[in-house]
C-alpha cells in the first residue's frame, strides 16, 4: 500500500522519493534524472544561449549546482521547475557577463509590433512549404533576445503554463504574460523582416 502510494500511474517512483535519493547522492538516481531531463534541459539551454558548446557546459553546471543545493530543495515544489530555474540562473549569469546586449527586450526594429500589424498579409506563411516555414521560424527565433527565446521555448516546446514559467524565470505572472506577448510580436516582426520579405506587402 505504501509502495503503491509512492508510485505514479506509469510505475515510476514519485518525485518525493526521487528527491530523497538525490539528496543522499544516490548515483543511480542521479543517472536516471539526468537521462530523463537531458533532451529538454539541453534544448532549453540551447535556445537560451544559442551556442551548443556553452549549452553543454551549462547543462553540466546545472546538475553540479542541483546536487550541491539539493539540501535546500523543498520537495513540495516541482523538481522540474526547480531544475529549470537553476539552469535559468546559470544561463542568465553567463549571458549577462558575456553578451549583455542579448538580454535586451526591445524589438530589433525599435517599433511597437502594433505599428506593423495592419499591413501584414494574413496568409503570408501559407505561401511557404511546411519545411520552409519551420526553417523560417527557427531563423526568426535566433534573431530574438535571449529572454524572449526563453519564454517562447518554455511555452511552446516545453508546453508549460504561465505559472510554471513564472516560477522558472522568477518574475511575476503579469510580467511573463507581457514578455510572452512581446516575444511573439518580436518573432512576427523578425519573420516579416528577415525570413518573409513579402509578408508586409
Amino acid at each position: 500500500m505504501i509502495l503503491a502510494a509512492l508510485m505514479n500511474s506509469d510505475g515510476t517512483l514519485s518525485a518525493v522519493d526521487e528527491a530523497a535519493r538525490l539528496r543522499r547522492g544516490d548515483p543511480d538516481a542521479l543517472a536516471a534524472a539526468i537521462t530523463r531531463y537531458q533532451h529538454r534541459l539541453y534544448r532549453y539551454l540551447l535556445r537560451l544561449v544559442a551556442d551548443p558548446a556553452m549549452a553543454e557546459d551549462l547543462f553540466q553546471q546545472t546538475w553540479v549546482r542541483v546536487m550541491e543545493s539539493m539540501r535546500s530543495y523543498n520537495p513540495a515544489r516541482s523538481f522540474e521547475a526547480w531544475l529549470f530555474s537553476v539552469a535559468h540562473n546559470l544561463a542568465i549569469d553567463y549571458l549577462r557577463k558575456s553578451r549583455p546586449e542579448s538580454l535586451d527586450e526591445s524589438l530589433p526594429s525599435g517599433q511597437a509590433r502594433a505599428d506593423g500589424l495592419a499591413q501584414s498579409a494574413p496568409d503570408a506563411l501559407e505561401c511557404l512549404l511546411e519545411w520552409e516555414r519551420a526553417e523560417a521560424v527557427a531563423a526568426a527565433l535566433r534573431h530574438l533576445p535571449a529572454i524572449h527565446r526563453e519564454v517562447l521555448t518554455l511555452r511552446f516546446e516545453e508546453d508549460l503554463k504561465l505559472e510554471q514559467m513564472a516560477e522558472i524565470v522568477q518574475i511575476p505572472l503579469s510580467t511573463v504574460k507581457s514578455r510572452l506577448r512581446r516575444a511573439l510580436d518580436g518573432l512576427r516582426d523578425s519573420l516579416d523582416r528577415h525570413s518573409l520579405p513579402g509578408a508586409k506587402q
Binding site: 539526468i34 537521462t35 533532451h39 539541453y42 546536487m67 550541491e68 519551420a134 511552446f156 516546446e157 519573420l191
Partner: protein
C-alpha cells in the same frame, strides 16, 4: 479603448493558449463577428503551431555520461575537502593537547607537583602561545610542501 482594440491586443496570447477562460471566450466570440480579428487570430495560431513543431535539438549522446562523471567528481572533491577540514581540526586539538601535556610534564620534572599547581595563568598562556606559534609554523611548512606535491602531480 474599444472592444475591438482590446481584443486585438489579446490575439497572440489567445493563440498561445495562455489567457484565462473568460478572456479566451471574449476573444473567440469577437472573432466570430469580426473578420479582421478572425484572420489575425488564425495567423497567430499558425505561428503557434510552427513554434510547437520546431525541430527539437537532441542532447549529444555523451552528455549524460560526462555530466554524471563531472557531478560525481565534484562530490568526491567536496568530500575530500570536508575530510581535510576534519583532519585539520583534529590535528589542531591534538597539537594543543600535546602542548599542555608537555608543559605539565616539563614542570613536573623540573619543579615537582608544587610548581605545576602554583604556576600562574600568564605562564600557561605564554607556553600555549609559543607552542601554538610553533605548531602553526610547522603546519604552514607542511601545507606548502603538500601543495607543491599536488601541483607536481597535476602537471604530470
Amino acid at each position: 479603448m474599444s472592444e475591438h482594440a482590446s481584443i486585438r491586443e489579446l490575439l497572440s496570447l489567445a493563440a498561445a493558449g495562455v489567457l484565462d477562460p473568460d478572456e479566451q471566450r471574449r476573444v473567440e466570440q469577437h472573432a466570430t463577428v469580426c473578420d479582421a480579428c478572425r484572420r489575425e487570430l488564425e495567423l497567430w495560431q499558425g505561428y503557434s503551431r510552427e513554434l510547437v513543431r520546431l525541430p527539437a535539438p537532441v542532447a549529444p549522446k555523451y552528455l549524460a555520461d560526462r555530466t554524471r562523471a563531472r557531478v560525481l567528481e565534484k562530490r568526491a572533491a567536496a568530500a575530500e575537502r570536508r575530510w581535510d577540514d576534519i583532519v585539520l581540526a583534529v590535528l589542531v586539538l591534538l597539537c594543543w593537547t600535546v602542548s599542555l601535556v608537555a608543559w605539565v610534564v616539563f614542570r613536573l620534572f623540573n619543579g615537582g607537583m608544587s610548581s605545576v599547581v602554583e604556576s600562574s595563568f600568564v605562564t600557561i598562556l605564554e607556553w600555549l602561545g609559543a607552542s601554538t606559534l610553533f605548531a602553526w609554523l610547522t603546519a604552514a611548512v607542511a601545507a606548502v610542501m603538500l601543495g607543491s606535491r599536488r601541483g607536481v602531480r597535476r602537471i604530470v
